[in-house]
């Protein structure tokens, strides 16, 4: 009897969601972040279980640990730097272990397509002593996500599944199956020696963790995740993830040890594989994680040059390492680059325009507003991590005696993620800096996800809405102002007052992201006779206004397709040459 096999194209992220669904996942939480965001969005369409955006990754993981304590299979998703935020519960959850299977997805970003660093989260598996699975295509992403739950329950331990941007955002042919029907009743576990990590209990649990890892090493040394693909024994390649695919393309005849479980490291399989080949090459993206383990076994191997410690690996880099091909010089196309920019009508733009006018020193973090670092605004001075701008502004203000206003900018979603504690610090330690919350009502950078201050949950259903004004007041901020960034005069007056006052103040610049509503507020018209080519409007850096290529003067031309009629340029123009009708 033959079964009908459905073939569909799924991205790595969609496949992870499908795998979790097939495993009977009963609770899922996370915080959006490229490249991980689509996992929960997909899962919410597959099943009616609670699928939630949490305020941050730590809250998400702790909630998932709770669901697991009650016996449910629980999934948490985040980008690589999100795991830094969630690291605290992760390390100790390795000690306690789990009841229902607990799987943590980390989306790494080699090449930093949309991240502030390219840390290699395989280190977390080694550091936290938590098994990690690393798929190399969408079908494996599905299988590994599903098997991760079984592994988690079998070995009483959270399991990390590591994806990368290329894997998460590549669609491959996948064969989905019907989900498991888990007949479970959920009841919170009472097991204090296991779940209350006082030192006496934790010492025992640490020993237990080491024993669990020893048992997991036996799984790692089977074919289930770390597979030998016999081939020409003159060349043996150890590789994982997308690097495996690139190496496979360059040397399809070679022998391969495909690593799908880098931790616990499969020492025995590696020894056996190394003994079977003449030449051993380790090919891996980012850090030398596998290579160091191989060398730690006393084995000699070849590996990539230091230049490949950064960025994505490619078929060319595989050819360079495996076949010693010279890197081909890339020919420049001699066309201008096209970096992302703040949209036409973006409500962040006028805030930065005014802050520049006030000669403010602006600290920031991650979001669309990070784009204020680029010309012509060039006003953002820092981007370290989520929420950092608030802390930085406080530290600067505590030591800086000059006249420049010290201003932190932070998005609404980011404020909820990790701005609040920094603001409490400012209140407590009597900061004189200013915090501007750029409240566009969404997590814009990652594609417009809802968060606690939007009044909608992940599925877009009504939810209690965090009142940011009341929150700021409740934690002791005495000066809280709300302003419409499209009203340039009011915005300037407010920011001027609040940045010159000697006490802490919060300004909430509130206007929905233009990608949320996509409606036109009016038609922008340009009166060339009235224009004196002062170029003030061009200093806004709006894509709807470009320097007229017919003239050398700083006269604007209107790109109507990018204009939403926000009218900010009309307010900047001193001669009424720009008008909204």
């Amino acid at each position: 009897m033959t079964e009908t096999v459905t073939s569909v194209l799924l991205s790595g992220n969609e496949a992870i969601a499908q795998g979790a669904y097939e495993a009977g996942v009963a609770f899922a939480s996370g915080y959006p972040g490229t490249p991980s965001s689509e996992v929960l969005e997909t899962l919410s369409r597959l099943t009616a279980i609670p699928v939630e955006w949490a305020p941050n990754e730590k809250a998400a993981l702790e909630a998932a640990v709770g669901a697991s304590l009650a016996g449910a299979r629980a999934l948490v998703t985040m980008k690589h730097v999100g795991l830094n935020v969630a690291a605290d519960p992760l390390f100790t959850a390795a000690y306690t272990g789990i009841e229902g299977g607990l799987v943590v997805i980390t989306g790494d970003d080699p090449g930093m397509y949309s991240s502030q660093n390219e840390q290699d989260n395989r280190h977390y598996a080694f550091a936290a002593q938590v098994p990690m699975l690393e798929p190399a295509d969408s079908q494996e992403a599905l299988n590994f996500a599903r098997q991760a739950f079984e592994l988690s329950e079998q070995f009483d331990i959270p399991v990390l599944v590591r994806s990368t941007t290329r894997l998460s955002h590549t669609k491959c042919v996948v064969h989905p199956e019907t989900p498991e029907l888990l007949q479970r009743t959920y009841e919170p576990a009472e097991n204090r020696p296991k779940y209350v990590m006082i030192p006496a209990h934790a010492r025992e649990r640490h020993r237990d963790l080491l024993a669990r890892i020893r048992r997991l090493r036996q799984v790692s040394n089977t074919e289930q995740f770390n597979r030998i693909e016999p081939g020409d024994t003159r060349l043996g390649i150890i590789a994982s993830g997308i690097a495996y695919q690139c190496a496979k393309e360059v040397a399809p005849q070679a022998s391969f040890l495909k690593i799908g479980m880098p931790f616990p490291f499969p020492g025995e399989v590696v020894q056996q594989f190394a003994a079977s080949v003449d030449r051993l090459v380790v090919f891996e993206e980012l850090d030398r994680v596998l290579e160091q383990q191989v060398r730690g076994l006393g084995l000699e191997c070849e590996a990539k040059p230091d230049s490949m410690l950064t960025g994505e690996l490619s078929v060319q880099s595989a050819a360079q390492v495996i076949r010693d091909e010279q890197a081909q010089p890339t020919t420049d196309a001699l066309v201008p680059i096209r970096p992302p920019i703040m949209c036409g009508g973006c409500p962040h733009r006028p805030v930065f325009y005014i802050l520049k006018k006030l000669k403010a020193y602006v600290t920031g973090d991650i979001g669309c507003y990070t784009l204020a670092v680029l010309p012509p605004l060039e006003i953002l001075q820092t981007c370290l991590c989520m929420g950092a701008g608030v802390g930085q502004a406080h530290g600067i203000a505590q030591v800086y005696d000059g006249d420049r206003p010290i201003v932190a900018v932070i998005g609404d979603s980011t404020f909820v993620h990790s701005g609040i504690t920094g603001l409490i610090n400012m209140v407590y330690n009597q900061s004189a800096a200013t915090v501007v919350i750029l409240d566009n009502g969404t997590t814009a950078m990652t594609g417009g996800q809802y968060h606690p201050a939007t009044g909608l949950n992940l599925r877009g259903e009504p939810a209690p809405q965090l009142n940011m004004v009341a929150l700021c007041q409740a934690i002791g901020v005495e000066r809280v102002r709300v302003v419409d960034p499209y009203d340039l005069q009011q915005l300037e007056e407010t920011l001027r007052e609040e940045t010159t006052t000697e006490e802490l103040s919060v300004v909430i610049a509130r206007r929905p992201c233009v990608l949320l509503e996509r409606k036109s507020l009016g038609r922008l018209e340009f009166d060339a006779d009235a224009c004196v080519a002062c170029g003030l409007c061009l200093d806004l850096g709006c894509p709807a206004l470009v320097q007229d290529s017919e003239t050398e003067q700083r006269q604007p031309a209107i790109h109507a397709t990018f204009c939403n009629g926000c009218g900010v340029c009309a307010q900047v123009c001193p001669r009424q040459a720009l008008n909204i009708t």
Partner: protein, 199 residues
């Protein structure tokens, strides 16, 4: 295509032009034609006016391994914008082909001395390809009466150069475009196809 058994396509354009939907149609068509396929894309910044790139690799007999091809091996560029088409040229094989939309969008961040002319871009693409099809996607979409079909008109033109059957394209279209828009997108596809078939 120098080999009907396998190939790779690069689709490039600017955020908001519908490049990713177009790539989805092409990848679905490859799948339904019985090819193994991998479609890779860089997005996240797509809505903010940045460059958008999607690679589609397909092969019979044995699977596609790496999501991205080697530079200098792509068979077809589908350029929704001329500067982006020029930027993608280093991916193309010397025997490659190109379908380009006859539009140039100057990057807002570029000063005007840096912005090449349409003629320059078209000449560059011509020089690097064995065959180039220039389509005025906006004009075709206007003929249909819906400006949002520019991308499917361009996919139609690309379809004339790909080893995929007519009815497969129709199915792929129905699966990839928003519900209720399949018919109007199909009309645009047919116009684009006819345009390329005439060249």
């Amino acid at each position: 295509m120098n080999s009907p058994e396998s190939g790779s396509i690069i689709l490039v354009g600017v955020g908001g032009q519908g490049v990713l939907t177009a790539a989805e149609i092409v990848a679905q068509a490859c799948l339904q034609e019985g090819y193994d396929v991998k479609k890779s894309e860089v997005h996240g910044m797509a809505q903010r006016g940045g460059s958008v790139v999607s690679h589609v690799r397909y092969a019979h007999n044995g699977s596609v391994a790496a999501p991205l091809p080697r530079p200098g091996t792509v068979n077809l560029i589908v350029g929704f914008e001329l500067i982006e088409a020029v930027r993608a040229l280093s991916w193309l094989t010397p025997k490659g082909q190109a379908v380009v939309n006859d539009v140039l969008l100057a990057p807002p961040s570029a000063n005007r001395a840096q912005v090449p002319s349409k003629q320059y871009c078209l000449a560059k693409v011509k020089k690097h390809t064995q065959r180039i099809v220039v389509v005025d996607g906006e004009e075709l979409a206007q003929q249909i009466g819906n400006i949002r079909t520019i991308n499917t008109a361009i996919v139609g033109a690309a379809a004339a150069l790909l080893p995929i059957s007519w009815h497969t394209w129709r199915e792929a279209m129905e699966q990839s475009v928003p519900a209720g828009t399949a018919e109007i997108n199909w009309q645009a596809f047919e116009l684009g196809y006819a345009k390329a078939a005439r060249v």
